[in-house]
Amino acid sequence: MVVPLISIILLAPLVAFAIFALSGIAKRTFPRQDLLSTAAMLIALICSFILLRDVVPEPEPLAVDWISIGEITISMGFYLDSVTVIMLIVVTLVSSLVHIFSIGYMHGDPRYPRFFAYLSLFSFSMLFLVVSDNLLGIYIGWELVGLCSYLLIGFWFEKNSAANACKKAFLTTRVGDIGMFIGMMMLFTKFKTFSLFDGAQDGIFTRAAAELATGDIVWLSIAGILIFCGAIGKSAQVPLHTWLPDAMEGPTPVSALIHAATMVAAGVYLTARMFPILTFPSSLVIAYVGGITAIVAATIAIVRFDIKRVLAYSTVSQLGYMMLAIGAGSYVAGLFHLTTHAFFKALLFLGSGSVIHAFHAMHSHSQHTHGHDEAHADDEAHEHDDLSLVHENLVHEHGSEIPPDQDMRNMGGLRQKMPITFITMLIATLSISGVPFIFSGFWSKDKILAGVLGRAMEWNSIHHYILFGLALCAAFITAFYMFRLIFMTFFGEPRNKEMHNMAHESPWVMAAPLIILAVLSFPVVNTIWFNKDYVIPPKQPHLHAPQHASVSPDTKTGDAKFGFSFFGVSEAQAADEVGGKNGEKADAAYYIYKRAHNIAMALSIFVAGLGILLSWLFYHRRRFSAESVATTFRPVYNLFWHKYYFDEFYDGVLVALTVWKSRLFARFDLSVIDGIVNGVGFATRRVFAAIIGYFDRRVVDGIVNRVAEVTWAAGGRIRRIQTGAIQTYLFVVIGGIVLIILIFRAL
C-alpha cells in the first residue's frame, strides 16, 4: 500500500510538469496547466494523508539497487518514518494552497502556464528529497529544488534584478552544496554506501556507530559539519544567507512556498536526518550558526520597510532557530518548529502577497508583462553582467527603490479594507511571536527554548547558556518586528491615500488558502508532535557530553507542580527531550528538563509579551509614550529611535561607523558578506579567469608558436648556407669530411 501511494505522490506533479515540457517541445502549451498542476498537488496531498495512517516510527527503507559495480552497490529508495510523512503532508499541503492562491495571484501573466509547471517540478523535487532514504537521493532532490528555485526566482527574467537574484541564489547555495558533496564523499569512502538506514546492507548510521566504537570522532565531526554546509546554503544561514532576501524578486507565492515553507526548511530537515552522526563538536557548530543567524536576521528585519524583505529576514531568523534546536539536541522541537513555521510563514507571505496584489491593482495590467514591480527594472540595466549583487541590496534597502506596492510606508489602515487578510495575518503574527497557549508557534518555540536550556542545565555547559540567551533575544526581537509589520500595514492612518483607495480584498481563490493556513496556525492540528510515541528522536551515539557535564543530585528537587499541563506538556515533553527514560541518569535529566521547561516557558511568554508591548507602544501609540519609553528602556529606545535615520543611512551614510548592533549587522550583512561574495565573484571572473585566459593565449599557445617560429627560423638559416656559390658547397664537403674524421676517430 505504501509503495503505490509514494509513487502517486511523486509522479503526479512530475507528470504535470512532463506534459508542459513535452507540449513545449511540440511548440504549443497545454490549455489548463494551472488546473492540471493543482489537481496533481491535491492528489498528492490526499495520498499523503492516507499514508499518515499506516506508518511506523522506524520502518525498513524501501530500496532498489540503482547501480552496482563489482561489490559496490548503490541503492535508491524511500524511507517513510513519521517525520517523513509529516514533511510530506506539510509540503503537499502548503504547495496545494500556494497553487490555488497562484491561480488568482498570477492571473494574466504571459507565462502563466509555465509558472504552474515549475511549481509542479518543484513539488516533485521537494517530495523526492523528503522521502529519499540515502544521501545521494537527498542530494539529487536537493539540487533539483535548487534548480526550481533558480527558475522561479528568475521567473520575471526581464528584470535584471530578478536575473541577478536567481543566479546569486543558485551559486550561493551551490557553494554550500560542494561542502555537502565533500562530506558525502568522506562518508562514502568510509562506509561504501550512501543509504542512511539499515536495509539490505547496513546503513551509514549503523556503520558509523560500529566504526566509532573506538571513539575517534574527529573525521566524523568534520564530515558532519561539511554536510551541514549544504544546509547553511539552502537554509540561508550565516554567512551564506544573503541570497534569500534577494530571492524575493520571485513572485510572492514562490516566496511563500519555496523561500519560507519548504525548500529553505530542507536544510533543517537534512540536519535532522543526519542527527545520529552528529558529534558534540559538530552539533555545537550547528547550534552556534543557528543562534547567530537567528539574531543577525532578526535585528536586520527590524529596519526593513519592504514587507517581503521583513518576512524574508524573519524566515532566515526562524530557520536559525530550528538549526539551534537541532544543534542543541532538541530534535523534536526543531522539526516541530519547522512544521508550525511552515504554516504561519506561508500564511504571512501569502498575506503580504494579497496586500501587494491589492495595491497592485492600481498598476496597469500591461505591467504584468514586465512583472509586478518594474519600478527598478530599468535603472539597473547597467549592471547586466555581475556575478554578485552588493549593489542590488543597496538598491533594495534604499527606501525609494522599494517597489511601491511592497513598501510598508505606503500602507497602513488596511484593517477595514482587507479584513480577511488582516485577521489571518494577525493570527500568523501572534503565532510567530509566540503568544501563549492558543497559537502553535508558542509551543514549538517554547520546546526549543526548553530544550536548549535543559541541555545547558544538564551539562551545565556555558555554550548552551549562551545559545539560550541568543534564542531568547531572538524571540523578543521577532515579536517586536512582526507586530511592527502588522501595525504599519493594517493600523493607523493610511499613508498613501490614492493607493489606499485603490486597495481591495483579494478574490476568494486567494482568500481561501489564507483562511486554511490560519486554521493551521492553531496547535490543534499539530498535536501529532505531542504524541511522544509517534515521533521518536533517534539516538546520538557520537554525542559525548563535555567532560565538565555533570548531573548534580540537587537538580532532582525541582517541584513538578510548577508549570502547566496543557496538551500534556512538561512531563511527557520533557521526557522525550531526554530520548526515552533510561535509568538513573534519565531520571535525573527528566527533572532537569521539567524545570528547564518551566523556566523557559515563563521567560518566553515574558519576552514575547514585552516585544509586542513595545511594538504597540512605538508603532501604534507612538505619540504618547516616547519619552517614558526612552527613559525606561534606554538602549532599546535608542536602537529604534535611530531607525528613523535609516533613509539617510541608506542614502549614503553607509561609511559612518555606528555602535548600534542593528546597524552593525545591517552593515555587516550589506558590505562585508556581500562584499566578500562580490570580491570573490569579481576576482574570480575579472582577474583570475582573465589572467588564466591570457596565460592560455600567450604562454601555452605562445610556447607552441615560439617552437614553430624557431623551426621556421632554422629553415631560414639553412637556406642562407645554400649561397648558390659552388665553392661554398665544396667547402662544406671538405669540411664535412674533415669533421667526420675528427669526430669519429675520437670515438
Binding site: I69, L147, K167, F181, D385, A689, G693, D696, V704
Partner: protein, 509 residues
C-alpha cells in the same frame, strides 16, 4: 562480421556519394543520411544484444591475416566500453548530417564524403583489436577532420586546421614509436604480434619482456602523450578552442562528441589495460610522480573552467568547458577504483552527448544571429522560449545537475578519486562551482534580462534542429535517472581493470 559491416558501411556510403553527380545535393544528403543511419541501427542492435555478464570481447571478426610480414591482422571486436562509445558515434552520425543539412553552402558532396570517411575511422578505432589497425584508424580520422575544418571552417580555419593536424600528428608519432617498441618486445622475431588481447595477456604475465615495469613506464608515456593531445590534456589543449571555434557546427559536435573520447578510450584500452605497471607509476599516489595523472586531471578541471569563465565567445566557452569536463575523466581514471573508472567512462559518454547538444545549440544561435558574442545577446528567453528551455537543460546537464546525466559521471569520478587523492579531489570541486558560474552567467547574458532590440524578430528554433536535439536530450535525462543501463555494459570490464590495478598497487606497496 556484423561489426565489420557497421564499420565499413559509411566507407561504402562515401564511394556512393563520390559517384553521385555534384549537382544533386538533396540526393547526396539523403544518401549520406541513410548511410549514417545503418550503423546506428546496427549499433543499437549490438547494444541490446551485448552480453553484459562477461567482460571479454564480443562480436569478434577476425583475426584475418593482413600483412604477414609483421603479423598484422584485421581483427575487430567490442567490449562494453567500445559498444557504448560506438553507439555514441553512430548516434551523432545522422545527427550531424541533419545539422549540416542547410548550413553547408559549398561542396556538399566532398563534405559528406569526408564525413562518412571520418565516421568509418571513428567506428573502426573503437572496435579495433589489433594495435596496428587501431593506430591506422586513429590516424584515419585526422585527414578528414583537417579538411572539414580547413575547407568549411570559419575565418581562421586554415590556422585552426593545420594546428589541429600538427598537434595530433605530433602526439601520434610518439605513439607510433611506443607501438613499434611494444611490437618488438612482444616476442622473438616471427613470434611477434600486434593483437591487443594477446599483448594484454603477455604484458600481465610476470617475467615477460612486456611486463617489465620500466619498459611499461616509457611506453606508457609514449601512448599517453599521443592520447593526451586528443583528450586534450593541459598543456596540449590549445588546438581545441581554435579548432572548435573555426569548425562548422556538425564538425564541432563530432570533435567534442567523439574525437576527444578517442583519447580517453585509448587511455583506458591501452594505457590502463595493457600497461598497468606504467599506470601504477603515475597513479600510485606517492610524490609528484605518483600523483601526476591526478594532478593533470585537476589542472584540466580548474584550468578549463576558469578559461571558460574568461571567454566571451559562446563556442569558445563550450570548448573550454569540455577541457574542464575531460579533466574529470582523467581524475577518475587516475583513481583506478571501480567508482572512479565507472565515473570516468560515464563522463566520456555523457560529455559526448552533452557537448554535442551544446555545440548544436550554439550552431542554432549562430545560424540566426551570425555571431557568437555572448554579451551581444540578451533577453532571448522571451523571444525563443523553446530554444531557451533546451539550452537550459543542456547547461544544467553540463554543470552537473543531479538527475541529469552529467552529474553521475562527475560525482563518481570525484568520489572514486577522493579515495585515492583526497586533497586534489577537494580542490577539483572548485571546478564544479566555477562550472555553474560560467554556465549560469552565460544563461543570464544570453537569455535573461531585457530583450536586445536587435533580435526582436529572431526566429524560434525549427523542427529539424529540434529533431537533432531531442534524442540527445532524452539520453541526458534517461542516463541521469537510470545510469545503470549504461554502467552494466562495462561494469565487468571495469572490475577487471580495477582488480588488475589494485593488484599491482598492492604489490607496489
Amino acid at each position: 562480421m556484423l561489426l565489420s559491416l557497421m564499420i565499413f558501411v559509411p566507407l561504402i556510403g562515401m564511394i556512393v556519394v563520390l559517384l553521385l553527380p555534384r549537382e544533386s545535393e538533396e540526393m547526396i544528403k539523403r544518401v549520406a543520411l541513410v548511410f549514417t543511419l545503418v550503423p546506428l541501427i546496427i549499433a543499437v542492435y549490438l547494444f541490446i544484444d551485448y552480453d553484459r555478464t562477461i567482460a571479454g570481447k564480443q562480436f569478434r571478426h577476425g583475426p584475418v591475416p593482413w600483412i604477414e610480414a609483421f603479423n598484422i591482422q584485421y581483427f575487430v571486436g567490442i567490449d562494453g566500453l567500445s559498444v557504448t562509445l560506438m553507439l555514441l558515434t553512430a548516434l551523432l552520425g545522422p545527427i550531424c548530417v541533419l545539422a549540416s543539412w542547410r548550413n553547408i553552402d559549398k561542396g556538399i558532396k566532398a563534405y559528406m564524403a569526408l564525413f562518412l570517411l571520418l565516421e568509418t575511422g571513428m567506428l573502426g578505432f573503437f572496435a579495433a583489436l589489433d594495435l596496428f589497425l587501431f593506430f591506422v584508424f586513429f590516424e584515419l580520422t585526422l585527414l578528414p577532420m583537417y579538411f572539414l575544418i580547413g575547407v568549411w571552417g570559419g575565418p581562421r580555419r586554415e590556422y585552426a586546421a593545420i594546428k589541429f593536424f600538427l598537434y595530433t600528428l605530433f602526439g601520434s608519432v610518439l605513439m607510433l614509436v611506443a607501438l613499434i617498441a611494444v611490437y618488438l618486445k612482444s616476442g622473438d622475431p616471427g613470434a611477434r604480434t600486434f593483437e591487443i588481447p594477446e599483448l594484454i595477456r603477455l604484458a600481465s604475465d610476470p617475467g615477460h619482456a612486456l611486463a617489465d615495469s620500466t619498459f611499461q613506464m616509457w611506453v606508457f608515456i609514449g601512448f599517453f602523450i599521443g592520447f593526451a593531445v586528443k583528450v586534450p590534456i593541459f598543456p596540449f589543449h590549445t588546438w581545441l578552442p581554435d579548432a572548435h571555434v573555426e569548425a562548422p557546427t556538425a564538425i564541432s559536435v563530432i570533435l567534442a562528441g567523439v574525437l576527444l573520447k578517442m583519447g580517453t578510450y585509448g587511455l583506458v584500452r591501452i594505457n590502463m589495460d595493457m600497461f598497468p605497471e606504467g599506470m601504477a607509476v603515475f597513479a600510485n599516489g606517492d610524490g609528484i610522480v605518483g600523483n601526476s595523472l591526478a594532478i593533470l586531471g585537476f589542472v584540466n578541471i580548474v584550468y578549463g573552467s576558469f578559461c571558460a569563465l574568461a571567454q566571451t565567445d559562446f563556442k569558445k566557452l563550450v570548448a573550454y568547458s569540455s577541457i574542464g569536463h575531460m579533466g574529470f575523466v582523467i581524475l577518475g581514471l587516475a583513481a583506478g577504483n571501480e567508482l572512479g573508472i565507472t565515473g570516468a567512462i560515464l563522463q566520456m559518454f555523457n560529455h559526448g552527448v552533452i557537448s554535442a547538444m551544446l555545440f548544436l545549440l550554439v550552431g542554432v544561435l549562430y545560424d540566426r544571429a551570425h555571431h557568437r558574442e555572448i554579451n551581444g545577446f540578451g533577453g532571448l528567453g522571451s523571444r525563443m522560449p523553446v530554444y531557451t528551455g533546451i539550452t537550459t537543460l543542456a547547461f544544467m546537464a553540463s554543470l552537473g545537475l543531479p538527475g541529469l546525466s552529467g552529474f553521475i559521471g562527475e560525482a563518481f569520478s570525484l568520489i572514486g578519486a577522493f579515495e585515492s587523492f583526497p586533497m586534489l579531489t577537494i580542490l577539483s570541486t572548485i571546478g564544479i562551482v566555477v562550472g555553474a558560474a560560467y554556465f549560469l552567467w552565460t544563461l543570464q547574458r544570453v537569455f535573461l534580462g531585457t530583450l536586445n532590440p536587435k533580435y526582436e524578430e529572431l526566429p524560434e528554433i525549427n523542427g529539424r534542429e529540434i529533431l537533432t536535439l531531442v534524442p540527445l536530450g532524452i539520453l541526458v535525462i534517461v542516463l541521469g535517472i537510470w545510469p545503470h543501463f549504461a554502467i552494466e555494459m562495462f561494469s565487468e570490464s571495469v572490475v577487471n581493470l580495477t582488480t588488475k590495478m589494485s593488484g599491482i598497487l598492492q604489490a607496489g606497496l
